[in-house]
């Protein structure tokens, strides 16, 4: 275990050890190790790297969240009023103990379709900063996640931060699970209503191999309404929006739920979020 005190040290260690894994909160990685699914010989701990734990405003339209900021800080101010959907998604993650340790970087590193912050990144078109010892790149979340627990990050790269646009509008996250807290999502949705452009963006979690951006449903809404800040959504529009969203997802049956229920839940979540956005 290499405990890096700054980003350079961590990147250097990753370059030196091509089998090294980074560990942030360990809430995913340690489970994998304890169940013997992973046997890393070198681990690089990012916990003591201050740069990864900062929240900055690179420009007036962007908030940049360090990959190591724990959920417990994302649930509260100053993040909560700027990125309410991220705060809501963060609040649904695990228990207080998990939220004190778990991070955005880890959620991205794991890249599970049930990862709660990922639909928020998809709906907000977030950008992911990746850095290695000798390169630096920024990848859109849409390019970043490529499949179930798969992404474009290279072994020698560290996710340093996630940039979210600050929008003038409404955003919300809803997650269905079989109990009222501390549950893996059975279906989730993040909706963003951008009042400046009139666009509505919808991203779904746990109902496909990746997070699903409902581009057709979004387009349908744009074609059939002209939304402004003060619009009211009729129940019919909301229902149709939900029904269309549920057609864009491709859920499966598993021990947590059925494909049929997941599809149904998406139609309800999407409809409710849309109505809430314009309530």
């Amino acid at each position: 275990m290499i405990v890096a005190k700054n980003l350079e040290a961590a990147l250097f260690a990753l370059r030196e050890h091509d089998d090294a894994r980074v560990i942030q909160g360990g809430t995913d990685l340690m489970v994998e190790i304890n169940f013997n699914h992973l046997k890393p010989t070198t681990m690089v701990s990012l916990r003591h790297i201050p740069e990864l734990r900062t929240i900055t405003r690179p420009d007036s339209n962007t908030i940049s969240i360090g990959s190591g900021v724990p959920y417990s800080q994302l649930e509260i101010e100053p993040v909560a009023s700027v990125l309410p959907a991220l705060a809501q998604a963060s609040r649904t993650v695990g228990s207080p103990q998990i939220r004190a340790a778990g991070s955005l970087g880890g959620n991205l590193g794991t890249c599970s379709p049930a990862g709660d912050t990922l639909p928020v990144m998809f709906a907000l078109d977030a950008n992911i900063h990746l850095q290695s010892a000798d390169s630096q790149r920024t990848v859109s979340i849409h390019q970043f996640m490529t499949g179930v627990k798969r992404n474009v990050k290279r072994q020698d790269e560290i996710i340093t931060a996630v940039d979210f646009p600050i929008i003038d509008g409404w955003q919300g996250y809803s997650k269905v699970g079989v109990r009222n807290a501390m549950v893996i999502s059975v279906a989730s949705a993040c909706l963003v209503a951008d009042h400046e452009s009139g666009d509505v963006r919808l991203a779904l979690g746990s109902v496909g191999p990746t997070i699903i951006r409902c581009r057709e449903t979004e387009q349908w809404l744009k074609d059939n309404t002209s939304l402004t800040r003060n619009s009211v959504i009729s129940p019919d529009i909301a229902r149709e929006f939900g029904a269309r969203a549920s057609r864009e997802c491709s859920p499966i049956d598993d021990h947590r739920s059925t494909a049929q229920y997941r599809r149904h839940a998406i139609s309800i979540l999407a409809a409710r979020l849309l109505q809430k956005a314009y309530a």
């Binding site: 997650k175 699970g177 009222n180 999502s185 947590r256 229920y261 149904h264």
Partner: protein, 756 residues
Amino acid sequence: MSTTKVEQRERDILGVSAIRPDGAAKVTGDFSFTSDMNAENMLWGATLRSPHPYARIVSIDTSRALALPGVHCVITADDVPGKPTYGLISSDQPVFARDYVRYMGEPVAALAADHPETCRRALALIDIEYEVLKPLTNAEDAIAGSFPPIHPDGNIIRHQRIVRGDQSATGPIIVEGEYEIGMQDQAFLGLEAALAIPDSHGKGVELHVATQWLHEDLGQISACLDLPPQNVRLILGGVGGAFGAREDISLQVHCCLLALKAGRPIKMQYGREESFFGHVHRHPAKIFMRHYAQSDGRIIKIEARFVFDGGAYTSTSPAVLINGITHTQGPYKCDNATVDGWAIRTNNPPCGAMRGFGVVQACFAHESQMDKIATAAGLSAVDVRLINAMETGDTLITGQAMESIAPVARCIIETDHIPLPAPLAANAHELLLPGGSGLTASASHIVRGVGWGVSMKNLMYSEGFDDFATARCSIKEGVVYLKFATSEVGQGFVTLAPQIARSVLGLDDVVVEPIDTQIGSAGSTSASRQTWMSGGAVDGACRLVREQIFQHVGKQNNIDPLRLVIEGTDIIDQIGTFRIAVREAIDGLSISETFEHHHKPTEELDENGQGNCHTAFAFVAHRAVVDVDPELGLVKVVQIATAQDVGRVLNPLSALGQIEGGIAQGLGLAVMEEIVIQDGKVRNPSFTDYLLPTTLDAPDVVAKMIEEYEPQAPLGAKGIGEPPCISVTPAIVAAIRDAIAKDLHRIPVRPQDICL
């Protein structure tokens, strides 16, 4: 949950909220659970389990594992010196599978090594060739006889009928239903663990273990080890919950065998996943019930058929079956009944004891039926239950007379008097709505329902079993010492026993001696029985000691001992003025008395299910208020009101703890807790996917204790452990039905059952 303030207590006698002696240590993390124990020179043990629900073992080759540095020994069925099988009722479960594995997770081999990691690697080096067979997973196939026997004892574990009264009786109201109960796990937090220390000469072993019944374990272990029982000593380790899952043998024999073979102490402990395979679960069941009733709602006759899936081995299935079918009527009068009950062997995980023991399943069915009768008769949920409420003196469908105090109507009425919670506010916080932290709804999406459940539960063991309890009370230098083998699994007997001694003897310094097999059996910490049985034994032993103190004081002071009584911490002459502090009176006295408490004898059932098979009964009513999101199928249980027949409250805080805990467990079964099995394979052996209620799922509990002194109980107190978890489940389901006006006949109720 309710907030409870512990009041200032003068003396921790019966009736006050004495606090647990181990409470602070448990809260701060200082308490030593069995898994925290270590011994010098200790090795670790681990178990290899079958990945298949049903397969023939073609060959086992342990040589690669043995060759791994750090591995001390590997054992299989060939290394069991004594009886190759164990079991609580029928000894049909192999210590290690020999020819066949009959469920996923069945132990095939065990090994000892210097480190848990070495164990894990070595397990992977044991080569087993299996011929995989098609598993028997549907109990009906076994009943139909269409599946070849999967065990030499056959596929039917037990079949029992109850036939009573007029078989042709019928009535203007006929309601029926097919009910299904999923497999619940006891989900105790302290996982299975044991530490076995062999005697230096290898002829005996000392086992520290988390168990519910030391003496029953002792008998089964010594038979398998082929050691005389006196060479096997069991000491209770710190137990983190049990709920029935520690009644059966799990790692006990394996751990002792490894210790004897390696000649070194062995520690074994299961992780959560292994625990799901290492203990029995609550029986999944299918129950058909048909009730015939008068037009006013009075029950005339019940027809029922029960099928309990016992899984691969017998465990306590025969007793669970009898409990289920003999509680067909619930806490209601019924003269005529035809019940057919089956406990079946399948290649599903073995099932056995869990809090409520067969009655949970029956209660879900009969309470669902009561609501159907109410609808047909135009009665409220309360009235249909009141009009049928059982009373002391009634005859049960087994022909047994209800001799227990039976305040059924009072439980219902007192529950009904508990105020309903305030209606859901339009601006209610989303976290408190169905969906909780998922923020899936606002108040306008929510419908509220109210439902009822009432239950009867037998206390102690049944069918002729003499499950006595033993206790010793000694006084030495002014201190009381209590000795018993009663497993403390978290229920609080270590709090209660000193309370009893203080009340009986008027002495305050009470020491509970180590809980082990160096005294007679206490019976199992199950069947809501220890307060009654071990409480009776402690009370009896303390009374014998008190008798001698009175003799001594009487002789010294020339007073007839019969005139002496304890008042607080003094001995007084009831009709004179003599008074002396007990402490003073016993100066120099050293007394020790042992007492065995036996309950009244019971009988086996005859072929028509008739006989005085049960010892005693307790009753409880639950009213559930549940918020439902009908579109998403999510629920939030808002409030549970309950009035429970407890006989007498011996420790209010402890009683409330049992009630709140039981309600949480019953809620789990109602809406989320289920081991999902597919083709005999467990799909969710983890707390990620086997969901237990969290704080946001737990309701407010408003509890009322119905205190009607039970003359048959040594302390007037009935067992209170199981009733809280029984009728709360149907009450919650009824509340959901009430909210969405839809029949629900399966538990746990899943979101898709509500909204699709």
